[in-house]
């Protein structure tokens, strides 16, 4: 029976690959990454320096993969890694990092720090140093299929509600549909206007689509936690239902990490190509717009701005599509001063929103977004991630800012011709 430390260190050792070695060999500890990280800029606590958060992995690399490290370890000259080296980093990695990867964009030697953090989380998860909130969310996801504990009954109830309130038929378990739309529990329970919106839009565009009652959850707590085993288990469920329903394209909804997981990381987590394409709802809507299948009328005249969700824009590459859509219906759309691939994170990504312990810190770092908004004098914020939407709403409330937050899909649907 191995100890938490042994499990953690063994896992970290297995995480060292070419990229990790190149990164740690290049790092000159210049500290530039700190200036891009909202957890540092809003607290001025140097422990939130992004590369500092990767210390557990760096120590394991240094002691096991470098000449001096191996020499001094064997001669007993270096301090061995202790359990504190992992447990002390739990709050830095899980509370103080949303894996937004803004640090990656500014590193002079091109270190993908978010990639390293993801690997650190694998070690932390193996050792058992994961926040309670995330652990709970993961357990619920494995047991019920949703981190909020929402079952297929909940989904079907939401579908029924759409019929009753809006007269909309949400297709469920339709075999051979062009698109399978995944949903985050947020969208089923809280931002139900997303379901209404896509139903209207897809109907108007004449595309066939479906949701799955067997497995509908877009979020992946395994990815947030840093546990590839859980991440893979959750992904296999998606592959199973997509294969069963003979789906060619899966839609990632308004959720950040769901997109990067399905579109970019999922195949690598499973170690094989996925048997379907993946699009973000923004990509699909923009494609429909280009094809002339998404016609809008009227406009939303309020002065608004767009918050780029990190996983969709900087990590996902979906940058222009939301803007194309907004320009169609919002004549008073103004950009934030730092946007697109250099946007500031909402503070709640990477599992931070599921971590109650991190709430005070998360609300504090919202100050950067507050400053951006104060400069613009807008009445509305639009985004394409329901988690960002929730975090933004909480931040606005905390700062007593009178501003509405809406999703793009909902905005487009409200202006369908």
């Amino acid at each position: 029976m191995s100890t938490p430390l042994e499990r953690g260190v063994d896992m970290l050792k297995s995480q060292v690959d070419t990229r990790v070695e190149s990164y740690f060999s290049s790092c000159t500890h210049c500290g530039v990454c700190a200036e891009a990280c909202l957890f540092y800029t809003e607290t001025h606590d140097p422990r939130y320096t992004p590369i500092y958060k990767t210390e557990p992995l760096r120590k394991v690399w240094q002691q096991n993969f470098t000449l001096w490290g191996k020499l001094s370890s064997s001669l007993g000259l270096s301090k061995p890694i202790t359990e504190n080296d992992l447990s002390d980093w739990e709050t830095l990695v899980y509370d103080g990092c949303s894996m937004c990867s803004r640090c990656t964009m500014v590193c002079p030697v091109g270190i993908d720090i978010a990639y390293l953090i993801r690997k650190v989380k694998e070690g932390m998860a193996a050792a058992g140093f994961v926040p309670e909130g995330l652990q709970g969310a993961s357990q619920r996801a494995l047991e019920f299929g949703s981190p909020m504990g929402l079952t297929s009954k909940g989904l079907l109830a939401a579908v029924e509600k759409q019929k009753k309130e809006h007269g909309l038929d949400i297709p469920v378990d339709v075999e051979g549909a062009e698109y399978l739309c995944m949903l985050s529990s947020n969208e089923v329970v809280l931002y139900t206007e997303f379901l209404t919106a896509i139903s209207k839009i897809f109907s108007a565009a004449g595309i066939t689509w479906t949701v799955s009652s067997k497995y509908f959850e877009a979020t992946n707590t395994g990815v947030q936690m840093g546990n590839s085993v859980i991440a893979a288990q959750l992904l296999e469920r998606l592959v199973e239902v997509a294969t069963e329903l003979k789906i060619k394209t899966v839609i990632s909804p308004e959720c950040g990490h769901a997109y990067t997981t399905f579109r970019w990381d999922g195949a690598n987590i499973l170690g094989r190509e996925l048997p379907f394409n993946v699009v973000h709802i923004m990509e699909l809507l923009d494609q429909l717009r280009e094809e002339g299948k998404l016609k809008t009328t009227g406009s939303f005249d309020e002065r608004l701005t767009y918050h780029d969700p990190c996983n969709i824009s900087r990590r996902g590459g979906v940058l222009e599509q939301p803007r194309n859509l907004l320009n169609q219906v919002a004549p008073n759309f103004v950009e934030m001063n730092e946007n697109m691939e250099m946007n500031w994170c909402c503070g709640g990504g990477g599992g931070v929103s599921s971590n109650e312990r991190a709430e005070p810190l998360r609300l504090k770092v919202f100050n950067v977004k507050k400053r951006q908004l104060d400069e613009l004098d807008v009445t509305t914020m639009v985004t394409s991630c329901s988690n960002c939407r929730l975090m933004l709403e909480e931040g606005l409330e905390e700062n007593e800012m009178d501003m509405e937050v809406i999703g793009i899909t909902e905005l487009i649907a409200d202006h369908l011709a």
Partner: protein, 214 residues
């Protein structure tokens, strides 16, 4: 006797350790470690992302440039100054021609050497002072960062002391410090001089495939 040691066997050792060490590090990191295939369907070329990341990495993003002005300016002063005086100063070109390449090439005039060394010294001292004073860099800096800085500074200082070529002792001291640096180089943070290229390339390719410019 020390002069013979420094000009003779210790130079051979330093040369071997330097080149073999660098080759060893590059081979083990780039070829022998797990590289992991990316199974996702790319949106754009990873190769062009890798190249562009290496090019774009040389200038800072405007969103952080005002916060990191000292690191950027002093960093370039040091690196460019050192590059120019290391590879183009007349005594160095003469040495390289005699001991490494066998051929000579263009050298900078004396005043160019002076200007380059001013930039190099100023940049290095400013960077090290900043490293010690900034709470971020003070926390994250490792022993190897300080050793590397001090070693490079000693090399530069002994070089400047030997400038008049007035005595062989000063020349030997400079050469000895250079040889120590060459031995330390492959197994230290100084390897960033080579590793930054694959590092930027990997990230550039990773994000380039996704359609994001680093």
């Amino acid at each position: 006797m020390f002069e013979q040691f420094v000009d003779g066997i210790f130079w051979d050792i330093a040369l071997i350790v330097f080149f073999v060490g660098i080759a060893w590090r590059l081979i083990t990191v780039l070829l022998l470690r797990n590289k992991r295939i990316d199974y996702s369907e790319p949106r754009n070329s990873g190769f062009s992302g890798a190249i562009m990341a290496n090019v774009r990495g040389f200038y800072p993003r405007k969103e952080v440039s005002s916060r990191i002005r000292l690191q950027v300016i002093a960093g370039y002063m040091f690196h460019l100054g050192l590059f120019v005086l290391l590879f183009f100063a007349a005594p160095h070109v003469k040495f390289i021609a005699q001991h490494i390449t066998g051929f000579s090439y263009i050298t900078i005039p004396y005043w160019g050497f002076i200007v380059a060394s001013q930039f190099a010294f100023a940049g290095l001292i400013l960077l090290w002072v900043h490293r010690v004073l900034n709470p971020v860099t003070r926390l994250i800096s490792k022993r190897s960062d300080h050793i590397a800085t001090i070693l490079v500074f000693v090399v530069m200082l002994t070089g400047c002391m030997a400038l008049g070529e007035a005595s062989s002792e000063l020349r030997v001291l400079h050469r000895f410090s250079v040889e120590l640096l060459m031995i330390y180089f492959p197994f230290s943070a100084l390897m960033h001089a080579f590793m930054f290229i694959p590092s930027r390339a990997f990230t550039g390719a990773f994000l380039g495939r996704r359609g994001v410019k680093v």
